[in-house]
């Protein structure tokens, strides 16, 4: 079977994230990391391959983004993907979550995957949602925020998935092909070997534009997006709390107790 893993480049946690006031879009300077949740998705693909319940022919990392997004693909390949696909086109700039999901789905159709995996969220934007958008376009069953996944060879090949939902833990049986987003509790991603890091740039990489995957230009980008975002404003100010740097722990504890006592909390 073929597994596609959707990956995304996100701002480094140490970089201050901001909106460019002139465009209303995220200022994507300073981005350089593979979204940490996506490393769990790649690891999940590797564990299916190594688990032996099904034969995995290929693991393909797929991303959409500007030229710098290639770094996320290299990282994904160093973690185990066999090759990668990079959708990049000026017409995609400013796409909202629905347009992005449509563009990714069109790109995935070219690969005909049996399983699409992705991280359940990224710190910089569209939490939890992209998998569900992609799944509806691909007409595949879908589950998000999965923390345990076991393959049953079948036929039909199925995944037994667990996740936390509104009322406790749910166990759901999903028939392939399917789109699954995973949480960070699903596994502990491995570290890439030096050899894998060095070799990542040599693995095949398809660079695609929207015409290559039959994406309608009027359904993507700012003009093809159905949401207009703007009017950025500051949230209501919350008075900053008091901060104590712990140098002398006895003294710190005394201060905490006094603070609690003042508020009649002890």
């Amino acid at each position: 079977m073929k597994i596609c893993v959707l990956v995304k480049e996100v701002p480094d946690a140490a970089v201050q994230k901001r909106i460019d006031p002139s465009t209303g879009r995220m200022d994507r300077n300073g981005e350089k990391n593979l979204n940490p949740y996506d490393t769990h998705a790649i690891e999940a693909a590797m564990q299916i391959r190594e688990g032996g319940a099904v034969e995995v022919d290929e693991i393909v990392a797929v991303t959409m983004g500007p030229s710098t997004a290639i770094r996320a693909l290299h990282k994904a390949v160093s973690l185990g993907a066999d090759r990668s696909v990079h959708l990049s086109d000026d017409a995609l700039a400013g796409s909202d979550v629905a347009a992005t999901g449509y563009a990714l789905a069109q790109t995935l159709k070219r690969e005909s995957p049996d399983l699409v995996l992705l991280g359940q969220q990224s710190d910089d934007g569209e939490c939890y949602t992209i998998g569900a958008v992609v799944a509806d376009h691909l007409q595949m069953p879908s589950l998000t925020q999965v923390i345990q996944m076991d393959v049953e060879a079948g036929p039909p090949t199925q995944l037994r998935c667990e996740r936390q939902a509104e009322y406790g833990y749910d166990t759901v049986q999903v028939e392939l092909p399917a789109v699954i987003s995973v949480g960070d509790a699903i596994n502990e991603p491995r570290y890439p070997s030096l050899k894998a890091i060095m070799g990542a740039k040599k693995k095949p990489l398809d660079a695609l534009a929207i015409g290559d995957v039959d994406i309608a230009a009027d359904r993507v980008g700012e003009s093809g997006s159905k949401v207009i975002c703007g009017d950025f404003k500051a949230p209501p100010a919350k008075s900053a709390g008091e901060i104590i740097e712990d140098e002398d722990t006895n003294e710190t504890v005394e201060k905490i107790v006094a603070w609690l006592d003042e508020r009649k909390l002890i």
């Binding site: 999901g101 879908s142 709390g241 905490i256």
Partner: protein, 326 residues
Amino acid sequence: MADILVYALHYEGAFNKNSLGAVSEGARLAAEAGGECHAVVVGGSDLTDELCATLGRYGAAKVFRAEAPEGLAQPVIDVMAKVMDDNGHRYALFGGGLLGFEIGAGLAARLNAGVTMEVTGVNVVGGELQAERPILGDSSISTSKYKDRGIIIGRLNAFEIRGDGAGDAVVESVQVELSPWSTRAKMVQRGEQRGADVDIEGADILVAGGRGLGKAEGFELCDELAKAFGGNAAVAATRAVVDAGWYPYAAQIGQTGKTVSPKLYLAAGISGAIQHKVGMQSSENIVAINKDANAPIFEFSDLGIVGDLNKILPKLAEAVKAKKGS
């Protein structure tokens, strides 16, 4: 017309609180925009006429009821897409929770609509809805406007429940043929509780632990401190450590866990991700201990201590015990 369709999740004979908040909010918005608020419910035979009609108390004029598997998003997408197409609803609204994200996003794909998630406020401007969403770690608020149909997914607890509606809602059963892919996911077990049963919702003081505790045994420090406070104090946990098996599910705070507002919330080794924050931000007093001075939790705590919790918690437990004894 700007009619609004609200998804009402239910489980074991009761509607979800976030759904009831969304119905209340939908009714308020529809009244202001000159439309009606309708609810949609999907499930089995336990969705009786009587139960569905109670949504009228929260402001739903009509309830569309469809029989389909429950607890999964895709059957609901099929139902809502059909109801919205047949009845011309312009907006769909969801209360906070996992299913709302999945249904709302899938529905946006199906209807080629605009979607906004993590919404904390909705306004009517010129007869149209505009959604406010905090972004970039809640440091800024962005406003979404919709070119055509709009799908609005609330953040947990964003919408207040108001039970001041006119009375019973009209209940209309709808027949919807499910998409083939919607039937290829099946619920095996729903709502399983794991680990010990802990009551954190009634506690006045909560000592909550996160990944910063380092290991499951780290919770002993939290237990000791809660014990020192005595009386109505309990220990709570973040999703990350519950999923890792360090502490029981019943003690989980946040997006998929419980929402609490104790007199004192003491967070140990918790970074303060949005998904956690939504479950505890209405606590009266928030004290955070974290070794990372840049942890987001310091931005919404009343007292923040930058330091090693392994050194601070045991001494704090001792000092609290001594203070109580004095």
